[in-house]
């Protein structure tokens, strides 16, 4: 059964509608095509500049060129850098197939390790991570104050003036996206630049991305585009190219931000099978309700029984 048919607490095919928005724009999101990410981190800087997110620590990590480490209350875009030896037989990064077969003849064979076993065989994966704006958003589900809200664009946003800093949302995110900031105590994460969307502008990260690795638009269009792109890559000899969170058939009921990866999600530090922790809540509540009803019935029966006995 597809998750879209099982809306969970807040999800469904149209989360904005389910959240009570009547007439509303189409669901908007990100498609991050990591195969064209050049690791410039312009997305990280543009995000911080636009959203006045504070600096998040000056620490040299030694994790290749990734000194950001991960998403947090003060990091809403994170570019991962993964150095690896390319899988045997995989040509260097791809172009659109078919267009240049003539000149690529000398190069399109298997990557041949050089005399040092390095040149030709090295691969450096880069990928810009962000809040997934889940269809079934754990953070939203557990927020007791209503600070986390579903917008008319289907995105999930923290309202800073409502958040009381309880932190329930932090463990509720299966990706570790949302966090609390020590100074103001509030929870913070990507808003998909809600203020920019409201006036018809694209989010700051997508605007700054020089290679269109980060693409913004109506989710339906992005999914279409992503399927074409991944097919092209597979045909060009990259069977490892895959879409991550593109469909609705996953533990978060689909995502407002999905990815094209050139390796398994774990390689990029992404959970291969994320599940929203509130997913079982309706079933649990149903069971709890049934149990409660059963208990009630038993109690009632007991009372009725005792009455009988009394009589």
């Amino acid at each position: 059964m597809s998750s879209t048919e099982r809306p969970g607490l807040t999800g469904g095919a149209d989360p904005a509608e389910r959240a009570g928005w009547g007439e509303h724009p189409p669901r908007m999101g990100f498609f991050t095509d990591t195969s064209v990410c050049i690791g410039c981190k312009a997305c990280e800087v543009a995000c911080k500049e636009w959203n006045t997110v504070p600096e998040d620590g000056l620490e040299l990590t030694g994790m290749s060129f990734d000194n950001t480490i991960g998403l947090s209350a003060s990091t809403w875009r994170h570019v991962a850098f993964i150095e690896q030896q390319a899988p045997v037989g995989v040509p260097a990064l791809p172009a659109v197939p078919g267009q240049a077969a003539g000149i690529r003849g000398g190069l399109s064979g298997p990557a041949v390790p050089g005399p040092d076993g390095v040149d030709g065989a090295m691969r450096w994966l880069m990928s810009s991570d962000v809040c997934k704006h889940c269809t079934e958003a754990g953070c939203l589900d557990v927020c007791p104050t209503g600070a986390l809200m579903r917008t008319e664009f289907g995105t999930v946003v923290v309202q800073d003036d409502v958040c009381n800093g309880c932190g329930y949302c932090v463990p509720a995110c299966p990706f570790g996206v949302i966090g609390r900031r020590a100074d103001d105590g509030g929870a913070h994460k990507c808003t998909l630049c809600y203020d920019r969307l409201g006036v018809g502008m694209e989010p700051a990260c997508a605007k700054a991305c020089p290679t269109d690795s980060i693409q913004f638009g109506p989710l339906d269009e992005l999914r279409e585009r992503a399927r074409v792109r991944v097919n092209d890559l597979v045909e060009a000899g990259h069977p490892e190219a895959q879409l991550y969170l593109e469909g609705a058939d996953n533990g978060i009921g689909g995502a407002g931000a999905f990815f094209l990866l050139l390796d398994e999600p774990e390689v990029y530090g992404l959970p291969p099978d994320p599940v929203v922790p509130t997913r079982s809540l309706p079933r649990m509540w149903k069971h709890a309700g049934l149990a409660a009803a059963g208990v009630g019935a038993m109690v009632l029966t007991a009372f009725l029984g005792s009455r009988t006995d009394v009589r």
Binding site: N67, E83, A92, L93, A95, A100, G106, D119, P210
Partner: protein, 892 residues
């Protein structure tokens, strides 16, 4: 390119999406390599051997574009009998004067049956005017050699930014390319030993990788296809830097990739508008538009200047018009025919006054004041210690920057304070720090690598005391003029003769007082109107109407133009640089976005995109073509040619100037209209590139065992910047590794624009060095531990990044390890660290005086460097081990 120019790299990614193959040649595997179809690691400092190997392949396997080469290059030109190649002379060219470390270009000249008949001037060796590139011979007997050297020391290599050096316009040729002294045969012999085996031994590149590169290049060049060659400024930072570019130019010319869409050599600049800063120069040897700065010998007056610097043929014949118009723009009504248009107001060069000579002059006490406008030499220039030593001898230093950069605070917290070499109380330099406005806080133009000007408008007023450079220059000039006027008792801007109490002072002050200094001021900050400056740069005719082309400029003082090649940027009184018509609303060349010099042409020398008859070489690569019905050149771009000159035009005998340009002279600014595979003049260090080892190299020059280095490199000498033994000299084993400096995406040059910004600093928060796992094992370096890197100049410490991205190579049968050093760090700012350039020396490219920081020989040891005076002890111990003396490394 992805690493240092990520925004521009979007176009490479777009080309890739359309099927382009991307090859990246670099010692390290960078973000660019990650996107490339092929990464080829190379030993830093060996690029001429690598490209020379490809040239050899192209020539011997006949992969060159023969029709193009015959029509548009000097392949068929016959060279003088006096010429002898490196093959004949053990690694040097004929004309080498070992005592003075110079070449006499006369030995490289074209052979011409009609010598004397059509000889040029700018172009003519021996014209008696000390002309171009200092190759002019003397007119006064015994002092001639000295004078020639002094003129040559002023280089002028950079004067070829808008046209080549001079040469005979109609030399002897052999169209069959068989004559043993024709350029084609000379080139073939010169590169004949640059074989794949030699490439492997010298560069550490496998024959397989080498084959993949040349096959991709040659199969993607010709009538239907073109290949672009892109380099960044690091390519120039060698003692053979200019010859690196020349090697690329020869290869691209042989393959027919110049002047054609998708071809060319694209120089990515170090930061915004570096192209602009050579067009309207910040260089000591140039005036705007690549007019050479007059030299004290040879340019006594306007006549001798115009005679010496002009060519008989082509647009450089009109140097006098360009110069007079410049003088009129600067001195307005004060510039008259009677006073030589104020030509004598211009200072004269007496020698080389480049950055490094200036530092030595500071130390010697000959240079007492220094302006640093957006420059941080204490971090960004070679041998920071020498830079600081120079600054400590100044009377005054003005630093204009965003933050208190190292060049502004060395006197209280520099490394020499720590080592005890300097004490703050002993330093007499008065340091002024003036905060600078950012580009968003001022209006102006950027000129990019395509020579395209793009205007930017002020978005916000600068905060606090920050001001634009234009504001600073204007108001500084205004105040100086007021003070001088008071001294002279005359009125600024008036050309009236001296009337003050100090007539001598007035005479001396006139060049300042007579300047046109009347730009409109705007707003509460009294900001000069940048568009008014642009209008002056563009120039106007006798009626005060903006000129639209440099062909309108006159030598009679009726026109004015601040930079002749920029004529047209303000055509019709409109700021053409501010045009922003979207690409989708015009053709693919997009001539209506911004404005490019010359004449808004987007591809230079694009006449070469059509065959000699004026037809495109192929439909796929059509750019401009001759339209016989209209009787003019048509095309997607604006033709870089005389609009109505048919391909069939041949100049009549005795034609001069523009009339002498043949209908097939595609390389229109060249003396002979040809692209030069062999440069008969214009280069200080040889008519063709030859592989020389860097000033300091762990290996011997395999191609020319008797000639380790560029024989005419400039080795500036001072005890503060000693050189190391190189090649097989004893002591070179003390510095067994190759270090190369570079940039990271996250930081900007010497850090002034990034190390104070939290959002950038957190992305690369500390100085590190990149080493291979092999080197780490050899020296006991631990990932994220500390390492000390040592040269004869200094020792610096860095965190260690052990990565496969910095591969070790096999060179001449031995493992060679390279060390990557991002050079952004210094002691100030949010993220701090030692400056990589502390390690570098003062050996320079002889053409443009650039430092060699991309290939250094160093040692590396685990652990942090010593503190205080112990640092000097460490360096001294290396000097002793390597046997370094004052003479080490200074041989020819």
């Amino acid at each position: 390119m992805a690493e240092a120019h990520p925004v521009g790299f979007q176009w490479v990614m777009e080309a890739k999406a359309r099927g382009a193959t991307v090859i990246h040649v670099d010692p390290r595997f960078s973000r660019t390599s990650a996107m490339a179809d092929l990464h080829v690691p190379i030993r830093a400092g060996s690029d001429i051997a690598f490209l020379g190997g490809i040239i050899n392949h192209v020539l011997t396997e006949e992969k060159y574009f023969r029709d193009y080469v015959l029509a548009y290059t000097n392949a068929s030109t016959i060279i003088s009998e006096d010429f002898a190649d490196t093959e004949d002379l053990g690694g040097v060219f004929s004309g080498l004067d070992r005592d003075h470390r110079t070449y006499d270009f006369d030995a490289w000249r074209y052979q011409a049956g009609d010598v004397g008949a059509a000889a040029g001037r700018r172009d003519r060796p021996g014209s008696g005017k000390g002309g171009q590139n200092g190759n002019g011979q003397n007119g006064d007997g015994q002092n001639g050699d000295g004078r020639r050297r002094r003129v040559r020391a002023a280089a002028r290599g950079e004067a070829h930014g808008s046209g080549g050096a001079a040469a005979h316009p109609s030399p002897d040729t052999d169209e069959t390319l068989q004559h043993p002294r024709c350029v084609f045969q000379i080139l073939k012999r010169h590169f004949s030993r640059y074989t794949p085996e030699m490439v492997e031994q010298i560069c550490g590149i496998s024959p397989e990788n080498f084959r993949r590169v040349y096959e991709a290049l040659t199969s993607n060049s010709g009538r239907d296809r073109t290949t672009a060659l892109v380099y960044s400024v690091g390519w120039t930072q060698h003692t053979v830097g200019v010859q690196y570019i020349r090697t690329g130019a020869i290869l691209q010319t042989l393959l027919g990739n110049m002047g054609r869409p998708g071809g060319g050599i694209l120089a990515l600049r170090g930061h915004a508008s570096i192209q602009g800063s050579t067009d309207i120069p910040t260089l000591f040897d140039l005036l705007p538009g690549y007019l050479p700065m007059p030299h004290v010998h040879g340019n006594e007056d306007l006549d001798t200047y115009a005679d010496a610097e002009s060519m008989d043929n082509g647009f450089w014949a009109n140097v006098r018009s360009y110069m007079v118009s410049l003088l009129k723009a600067w001195w307005g009504p004060a510039a008259t025919a009677e006073n030589d248009f104020c030509f004598d107001y211009l200072p004269r060069l007496t020698g080389s006054h480049g950055t490094y000579e200036t530092v030595l002059a500071q130390i010697a006490g000959d240079c007492s004041g220094y302006f640093l406008l957006g420059e941080n030499p204490a971090v960004g220039s070679a041998n920071g210690r020498m830079q600081r030593l120079g600054m400590s001898k100044l009377d005054w230093l003005v630093v204009r920057d965003f933050s208190l950069i190292e060049s502004a605070t060395w006197w209280k917290d520099g490394p020499e304070i720590e080592t005890g070499e300097m004490r703050t109380e002993d330093i007499g330099t008065e340091v002024f720090f003036l905060p600078a406005a950012a580009h968003t806080e001022k209006s102006g133009s950027f000129t990019n690598t395509q020579r395209m000007l793009q205007w930017h408008h002020e978005a916000v007023e600068p905060a606090g005391d920050a001001r634009s450079d234009l504001w600073f220059a204007y108001h500084l000039g205004r105040i100086i003029r007021e003070k001088l006027a008071a001294q002279s008792g005359s009125v600024p801007g008036s050309s009236s003769p001296a009337a003050g109490e100090h007539p001598d002072a007035d005479e001396m002050n006139r060049p300042i007082l007579d300047l046109t200094w009347d730009y409109p001021l705007r707003g509460p900050l009294r900001e000069p109107d940048a568009e008014a400056v642009l209008a002056e740069v563009n120039g106007w005719d006798g009626d005060g109407k903006p000129v639209s082309s440099y062909t309108q400029l006159k030598d009679d003082g009726s026109t004015a133009s601040g930079c002749w090649i920029y004529c047209g940027v303000y055509a019709d009184g409109v700021n053409q640089a501010a045009r922003r018509k979207p690409g989708g609303e015009q053709n693919w060349v997009a001539n209506e976005w911004g404005w490019a010099w010359p004449a808004n042409r987007r591809v230079l020398y694009n006449r070469a995109s059509a065959d000699p008859e004026g037809k495109p070489w192929s439909d796929r690569k059509a750019l401009v073509w001759w339209d016989p019905e209209q009787g003019k050149w048509a095309g997607h771009d604006i033709a870089d040619f005389i609009a109505n000159r048919p391909p069939s035009y041949r100049p009549p005998d005795g034609a001069k100037g523009v009339a002498a340009i043949s209908g097939t002279d595609a390389f229109i600014m060249q003396a002979d209209g040809k692209a030069w595979l062999f440069a008969p003049a214009g280069l200080a260090d040889g008519p063709m590139p030859a592989h020389y080892e860097p000033q300091e190299s762990p290996v011997q020059n395999l191609l020319y065992p008797k000639q380790e280095h560029n024989p005419v490199r400039e080795t500036l000498r001072h005890p503060g910047t000693p050189y190391q033994p190189s090649g097989d000299e004893p002591g070179s084993e003390v510095f067994p590794y190759v270090a190369t400096t570079y940039r990271l995406t996250e930081h900007h040059t010497a850090g002034g624009m990034s190390r104070w910004l939290p959002y950038l600093s957190e992305l690369q928060p500390e100085f590190f060095c990149e080493v291979s796992p092999e080197l780490a094992a050899e020296r006991g370096l631990e990932h994220m531990g500390w390492a000390t890197i040592i040269s004869a100049r200094s020792a610096i410490e860095a965190r260690v990044m052990v990565t496969q991205r910095m591969p070790s190579l096999t060179v001449q049968g031995k493992r060679l390890h390279q060390i990557g050093l991002p050079y952004h760090w210094g002691r100030n700012g949010l993220t701090t660290g030692d400056a990589a350039n502390e390690l570098a020396h003062f050996s320079l490219d002889p053409n443009v005086h650039i430092q060699e920081v991309k290939a250094l020989a160093v040692d590396i040891q685990p652990g942090r460097r010593p503190r205080g005076p112990a640092l000097l002890d460490l360096i001294r111990s290396y000097h002793e081990r390597a046997g370094i003396t004052d003479e080490t490394g200074t041989e020819v």
